[in-house]
């Protein structure tokens, strides 16, 4: 089962069995959001919102207060600059302020490049600074189910940083850990695919890298799965993200470093605005950039 099929089935079940609701803009347009939205009707719980991003977020919060556990679908993560307002300032605070939970499942969909300065890339870093929101970045069906189950068992808002490249993935991604690796990679979202490709190329050159997939971003728990491979890596670790580095990557890097004896570096989008022309785009770290960075870490160490 692909991730897209899993998302679609979770949504269908939520609408049919839980009196759930899925809201967003252009949900029923071509493709039903990459095949992730079930072809259901308004009466069955699909709510087409007006093209008003800021109020859309507020309306989703209202549905949450009404007990509908809404799935709020934002088709491009860049749109969160508008949509985030009510989620970050109301839903995230409601439980602490008034003891009233406001659980909503924010599906925020990223893509790599091709959209210039408009709306591409991942933007989970936007929510990193706000207390009261869980952040996950699932890429596989199993991870998506874990995120959903956690959401349904708790009453906090959850920001789900999705990526369009995950929709076709029909396998799970296991960590790769070597006894004496050179570097440990901590890739997030779509960069996990590039990290795997980079590791395979590096292995041909005799460089062993661990891959510890980061799916749960906030709250971040630096447990043995995270710290163990790093401690046995000669040249520390590298967090790789499709968002800018001054967000989740540096926060997680700090958390890991504080609990280990090794250094952590980050490799993310370049610190610049993307352009539409292909040569001006700003893409998540490619396998080549990851390989270069790994070698740089090894040299520097």
């Amino acid at each position: 089962m692909t991730s897209a099929e899993t998302i679609r089935e979770i949504t269908r079940k939520h609408l049919k069995e839980n009196n759930g609701v899925a809201l967003g803009q252009c949900l029923t347009a071509v493709g039903w959001v990459g095949g992730t939205v079930p072809e259901m009707t308004v009466e069955e719980g699909i709510v087409e919102l007006a093209m008003a991003d800021v109020s859309g977020g507020g309306i989703a919060v209202g549905y949450a207060l009404a007990g509908r556990r809404p799935i709020y679908i934002v088709r491009y993560q860049g749109f969160q600059w508008f949509n985030a307002a009510h989620i970050a300032n109301y839903a995230a605070k409601s439980k602490e302020l008034w003891g009233i939970p406001c659980p909503l499942f924010v599906r925020s969909i990223g893509m790599d490049g091709g959209m210039g300065p408009v709306a591409s890339g991942s933007h989970h870093g936007m929510f990193e600074r706000m207390p009261g929101v869980f952040i996950v970045a699932p890429m596989t069906s199993g991870e998506y189910r874990k995120a959903w189950d956690f959401f349904m068992e708790h009453d906090s808002p959850m920001y789900v940083s999705e990526h369009r490249t995950s929709f076709k993935i029909d396998y799970e991604m296991e960590d790769v850990v070597h006894p004496n690796a050179d570097v440990t990679l901590y890739p997030i979202s779509s960069t996990r695919l590039n990290a795997i490709a980079a590791a395979q190329e590096l292995a041909k050159e005799g460089i062993a890298v661990n891959i510890v997939h980061l799916f749960w971003l906030k709250p971040f728990l630096a447990d043995e799965r995270i710290l163990g491979p790093l401690e046995s890596s000669r040249h520390g670790g590298l967090i790789i993200d499709g968002d800018f580095e001054n967000g989740v990557a540096k926060c997680i890097g700090f958390d890991i470093m504080r609990q280990s004896s090794k250094k952590i570096d980050v490799l993310c989008l370049e610190e610049r605005t993307a352009g539409f022309a292909p040569h001006l785009d700003n893409l998540p770290p490619t396998p080549e950039r990851i390989m270069k960075k790994v070698k740089e870490l090894m040299t520097r160490a």
Binding site: A50, V61, G62
Partner: protein, 333 residues
């Protein structure tokens, strides 16, 4: 322009007042400015002898609620002036009649209030001791001390907390209304500044489109902090509502007028009621910029006296003042 001049002359008394307040400096402003100015008055939309169409009990009860809010807020002012309250406060002095009248007619709604909402909380039966404690930063406050003046709530009366940002309660109210399966009535209260928030407009339009059962109240005091409506926009709340094909009425803050229109509008929700009110004290805090444009509290007392309820209303006022004083007495020892 000639017709505008006629309207202007008709309301020249009001114009003299607002000119002093800096509301309108010259008549050669655009026509819309004059029209907007004319609309704002203590008797805008007023219906003569309307109070007589309500029962004595109703007239006295709405007055009791007005008194309760007024005297409670004056005690909050006193507590703030004595530094017992250290956080920002947003007082409802001057606009008591709106919440009092709404609570008489629009009963048991889910309430989505704004930052200035002590009046609504009290009118709808919120625990005054819990509000007092909230303002005094205590864990026994209605929001456990977390909310302060701007973010009060009360599940008991169906009042949803507000996060303090201008107008956020409107889209949230719309989502709640659409998300609820029941026919629960919703009350969404905003100010004339919040109405200008883009997300408020969009959410109001969506409510109209989806026929959400919401009564939108715009407490129009003509001010955003101290910036007047005329320098912020050239349209009215009713213009906006009508563009969205939603029922809307613009009136002054006469409680009988509010009860009359609310009773009608709630039959055809969503609807918007823009009510001209006067904020007697500052946007935030207890300061005062001078005599208010009008004093509805006094006008209500005069109207009650006119219909033969002078003595009874005076007794109510005295009793209510004492009741509120008892609530605050331990704090002023």
């Amino acid at each position: 322009m000639a017709s505008t001049l006629r309207v202007y002359n008709k309301h020249k008394t009001y114009h003299r007042f607002v000119s002093r307040a800096g509301f309108v400096k010259k008549l050669d402003n655009r026509i819309f400015r004059c029209i907007m100015c004319v609309m704002r008055s203590q008797d805008f939309g007023q219906i003569s002898r309307l109070s007589e169409s309500f029962s004595e009990d109703e007239n006295l009860e709405v007055f009791r609620r007005i008194c309760f809010i007024r005297y409670f807020e004056l005690k909050v002012k006193e507590a703030s002036d004595k530094k017992l309250i250290k956080a920002p406060i947003y007082l409802s002095v001057g606009q008591e009649s709106v919440a009092a009248a709404l609570s008489m007619v629009y009963q048991q709604p889910k309430i989505f209030g704004q930052h200035r909402c002590h009046d609504v909380y009290l009118a709808y039966g919120g625990d005054p001791v819990a509000l007092r404690d909230e303002l005094l930063h205590r864990p026994t406050g209605c929001a456990g001390g977390m909310g302060g003046s701007a973010s009060i709530h009360s599940p008991k009366i169906g009042m949803v907390g507000h996060d303090g940002l201008l107008g956020t309660q409107v889209p949230i109210a719309v989502g709640y209304a659409l998300g609820k399966d029941s026919k629960e009535k919703i009350l969404s209260i905003m100010g004339d500044a919040a109405l200008e928030e883009d997300y408020v407009m969009a959410a109001t339009a969506f409510a109209a489109f989806k026929k959400a059962p919401i009564l939108f109240i715009c407490l129009d005091n003509n001010l955003s902090v101290l910036t007047e409506v005329k320098v912020r926009r050239h349209w009215t709340a009713t213009d906006l509502a009508k563009a969205f094909k939603m029922s809307a009425v613009e009136i002054t803050d006469d409680p009988w007028l509010i009860m009359r229109h609310t009773a009608e509008l709630q039959q055809n929700l969503p609807a918007l009621l823009n009510i001209h009110v006067v904020r007697h004290l500052w946007h935030n805090g207890t300061g005062c910029d001078g005599p208010p444009e009008w004093d509805r509290f006094q006008m209500v007392k005069e109207e009650l006296a006119r219909i033969g309820l002078k003595e009874k209303s005076e007794n109510i006022e005295k009793k209510t003042e004492e009741e509120v004083a008892l609530i605050w007495q331990p704090e002023f020892k």
